[in-house]
């Protein structure tokens, strides 16, 4: 049943959306949303929307209560007034927090609006087609397994009433062949765009907790946005220090190794993965690599450049490299990349100094609409 409140409710949701948009930068840089992430929805704390009135200052006002305790004893819950002194509940308290559930899709839309992200021009859309059967109507012939009992019954009933053979005292309905009704279906062709995000991260000793947290926050938003853009999306995770391996999401953000750094090790696995599982003609491929910019040797860097040039970039929609500033890293790698791929549009680099820079970096990565 649709309720009258629906309209007011959706107006309220629109206001909430506006509030989230206003505070988006803070939510992003503080990463406070991810802890509240459910499967489909995120609970977002927004300041309660109060209607301002001429009111007394709570702290000067005080109140009257009931119960045990001596003068000077603290009240059990600070900051609230006595109930019911002619006030509506919740009135007069400004710092209540409202928890609002927002779907990840909505959140992605808000991000998109705020950062003015273009929708992605997908590749491979035309090539993969999925067939789907849908029941859309009724017809007079069909297999018994698809017989529509209710419609059949109705037709039979109508016929019997029309013929006068219906007896209200003994309401037996016998359908004839002509009364039978069957569900009918249509096969729809649905183009699917498949996409995969391959996250790579440097977990060598120089990447600290704060750096990883930044990567975690940034990948949350990238995920949200790309999920909004593609129907089915896969995510893969590769960590590396001097050697690389594929891990699950949890391990990805938790692992901390102490070894040196060979970026090429990750790129090798990544290119292998693409070659084996994600043919470029059918998949939209998004490799993201986060590191503090330290690499073992110049030779290894050259190897990376070659892998990127030969294998990864040609196969991917875009390759994104995010360099997180750390006190230990030299930050050389981003310079090398920029030197080798100056004019390359499919390689995007972004430096992330601190949490406040996350939002700008998201815009760098996703602003191209690829």
């Amino acid at each position: 049943m649709s309720l009258k409140i629906d309209q007011d409710h959706s107006r309220f949701r629109a206001i909430v959306r506006g509030k989230i948009r206003q505070n988006l930068r803070r939510y992003v840089s503080q990463g406070e949303l991810m802890g509240k992430q459910g499967k489909e929805v995120v609970s977002i704390p927004i300041p309660q929307i109060d209607i301002p009135r001429f009111r007394f200052q709570d702290k000067e006002m005080g109140g009257v209560g009931q119960g045990e305790g001596d003068p000077g004893d603290p009240l059990s819950q600070p900051g609230q007034e006595g109930e019911g002194e002619g006030k509506k509940a919740g009135e007069g308290e400004g710092d209540h927090v409202l928890e609002v559930d927002v779907t990840l899709d909505e959140l992605a839309d808000i991000l998109g609006e705020e950062l003015e992200l273009p929708n992605i021009d997908t590749r491979g859309k035309a090539t993969i087609v999925d067939k789907k059967d849908r029941y859309v109507g009724i017809r007079n012939v069909g297999p018994n397994s698809l017989r529509h009992f209710k419609r059949t019954y109705k037709t039979a009933l109508k016929r019997q009433i029309a013929l006068g053979s219906y007896d209200g005292r003994r309401p037996v309905i016998v359908p004839t062949r002509d009364d039978l009704r069957f569900r009918s279906w249509r096969t729809d062709q649905e183009p699917v765009a498949n996409a995969v995000i391959i996250y790579m991260m440097d977990v060598s000793g120089s990447m600290g907790d704060e750096q990883k947290e930044i990567v975690r926050i940034e990948s949350f938003w990238i995920d949200a946005w790309l999920r909004r853009q593609y129907e089915g999306i896969e995510t893969r995770f590769i960590i590396h220090d001097a050697v690389a391996r594929e891990v699950d999401r949890d391990t990805f953000f938790r692992t901390r190794e102490s070894g040196g750094t060979m970026i090429s090790s990750a790129y090798k696995i990544c290119s292998q993965m693409i070659e084996d599982e994600y043919p470029a003609s059918e998949w939209n491929i998004y490799p993201f690599h986060f590191s503090d910019g330290d690499n073992w040797s110049v030779d290894d860097t050259l190897l990376c450049v070659e892998l990127l040039k030969e294998k990864i970039i040609p196969a991917s929609n875009m390759f994104c490299y995010g360099q997180v500033e750390s006190p230990y890293g030299s930050g050389q790698f981003i310079k090398d990349l920029r030197e080798h791929f100056g004019g390359e549009e499919s390689l995007i680099t972004s430096e992330i100094r601190d949490r406040d820079a996350i939002i700008g970096s998201i815009r760098d990565f996703l602003g191209k609409g690829k």
Partner: protein, 514 residues
Amino acid sequence: MGMFALKTQLPAYLRDEQARIEEFAKQFGLDYFPTVFEVLSYDQMNEIAAYGGFPTRYPHWRFGMEYEQLSKSHEYGLSKIYEMVINNNPSIAYLLEGNSMVDQKLVMCHVLGHVDFFKNNFAFSVTDQGRDPKDGGSVRKWVDTMANHGAVVRRWSRRVGIERVEELIDHCLSLENLIDPQQPFAPVKEPIGPLASLADEDETPEEPSLLRVERDYMESFINPEEFVQAQKQQLAEEQEQAKRFPDAPVRDVLGFLVENAPLDAWERDVLSVVRREAYYFLPQMQTKIMNEGWASYWHSKLMTERVADGSEILDYADRNAGVMQVSGGRLNPYKLGVELMRYVEDRWNKGKFGKEWEDCDDYDSRRAWDRRTGLGREKIFQVRKLYTDVTFIDEFLTPDFVRDNKMYAFGYNPRNDRWEIETRQFQEVKQKLLFQLTNAGNPIIRVLDANHGNRGELLLEHDHQGIDLRLDWVREVLAAVHRIWKRPVEVHTIVGKRPTSLRFDGRDHSDKPR
């Protein structure tokens, strides 16, 4: 109402129960409007609760917010709305589908108490919309009125756009509490004649009254310069006074704005709707403690003495205890109200009133005092008719009651950054409670001058009673007033013991000492 009347008809077993309960209630002397109970599912209940009990209100996002909060706390199992009843003739009350029989009975008893209160308490007489020509009963068709308000606002929304209307409602709601509780009882105003100040606008300016001088050379001696200046100033002040509009401060700020602000038709309609509804809800704010106390008194009496059978009494007691619960040291209006009501009944039953009682200060004889006057019931019926929370507390809250009910006053202690119990002294507890109840807990604001500084600016004053206003909100409210008055607005108040004038000129806020 059509939609609900169709789907929510009371099932027969509840209808029988209602008839039975009403019979008992009548025996006890309750006198209520006809009451229609409807059974709602929980989402219908949440919707109607969000609308303050009415099936139809004007559209506004805050009802949606209310709904979101109610549904959420329902889903999480934090709260459940038990009873809701609206002051209307006939009164409409709602029962939650799927509640146990004991709950339904309890709610019905409680509701009848409320409806008796609506019908008889004098404060609610302001919600009368006329007299029924046939039986002389009150006409209170607020369900229709609210629906009409909804229709008016919707119509304007279609004409000028929902965004503009909603934005205006936001601003009007900021002024919702600026009404005058006494206004409905004021004598009818005399028709306004032409304003005196307008009549003599073109006449020659008045001369300051100086002393008569026979000889020119005596002039500066008899009328020295300082005296002339003083007279001139006095004259100017008098003229200023005469020009002032309104001639006396007006507490019904909303009403003043409806009449005098430069509003378009749609704006005036919206503002009037908000004002009328504010007056409708006012008596409920003024009698929260009494109203809940009275209803609780009667649900308890009816349930324990008549309605509940042996198998139900335990469930009832459990539910009742939940309602009466005092949690975290906060006042519970149900609890306070019912206790005070019973206390009054007991005093009048035992003759604990009058000069002899007042003069007696012997603890033991006061305790054992019983003159078997038996006037308790009669007294509380009188109380429910003639009192509001302020007068109820003022007259019947006694040191004995405050002590027995462990009441205290609390306040914020900035040194420890926490809320603390301040005192259990009777006078202070009572004073604090009365302060919170006065004007339904709202500051008293008046329109002082609608032509402030002779520039058509609006000057408001806050009648400061020792507690400052919340300043960030004052600024927003000033902006709201400006939206309606469309000229700079100013409020005189006291901030941290210094008289201050806060001003909004449409762009900037400014504060200055006064």
